[in-house]
Amino acid sequence: MDFLAELVIAFFLVVSGVFGFVGSFGLIKLRGTMQRLHAPTKATTLGVGGVLIASMLYFLLIEGSLSFHELLITLFLFLTAPIVAHFIAKTFIQANIRPSDVPPTGGEHGWSMYDDPPSDQREE
Amino acid sequence: MELIVASSVGVLTAGGVYLVLRLRAFPVILGLALLSYAANIFLFASGRLRINAPPVLQKYGEAVYTDPLPQALTLTAIVIAFGMTALLVMVALGAFIEAGDDRIDMTEADDAGKAVRKDGAA
């Protein structure tokens, strides 16, 4: 039982470490900011997720106490990570991408960074 | 570990001092922030270092705790530094808006210029 528990915990730790490293490695290896932006999201999800699971399991199986507040961090990261990525992408676009560099929206309004929101246009 | 902490304090102090001696308000603010970090770590370290012994009393067993007093002092210092920094930022902003640049040195020329304007108006 103990061995199994340790094995499981160790597994999650290793998985977490691998993905965490991959995230940071991608930040170095990939060319172009937009590409690099993909890498850390891995660390966020499986990396930190793995650690959190390992932690929960550790407290449950080794320390014998139920711990689930790690879930909160997970919840938080799942909520925030897309927004962060979104903003960093926009930060990059702001300085480096012109409207002609990206495909059109397909609708009557352009992309939000380049075009004013419809409500403003309507007021005018 | 002691070397790590001491050298961190040193590095932060050095960086802070260098920036504080710049001629514009913004780097000076950054310098003061670094100095504040250094002072806080310094004050905290005055209780000596201990790993995994936070001063949160445990109900059972004899536990060893790190010195809580410098922590409380540092906490107070951090908060005070925050209030000071906030006001400093605002004063710097005010000076910038009034003067048109964020030079931190005052020159006599400014003074004379003011007098001339006054004379011209009179």
Binding site: G17, G20, F21, A39, P40, V51, I88 | -
Partner: protein, 89 residues
Amino acid sequence: MIEAALIFAFGCYGLGLLLNLWRITRGPDVADRILALDTIVINVIALLILYGIKHGTAVYYEASMLVAMVGFVSTVAYCRFVLRGDIIE
């Protein structure tokens, strides 16, 4: 076994921090630096949890939660500054 796994994980995230440092130093874009900082934050969260496991204590938990929260806010603030100049309009 957990020990070894912990050392491995510590190593991964520690190495990760150095790689992030490289990126934040080099840039080249502002976005890269912000991204690197955000990744540092993520790695730090992971490290804090790892320390919690290592020492079998929950005292590191609040710190990691708060780091997650403020890390998000400051990253967004940095981005907003670049995007709009004024972070609170």
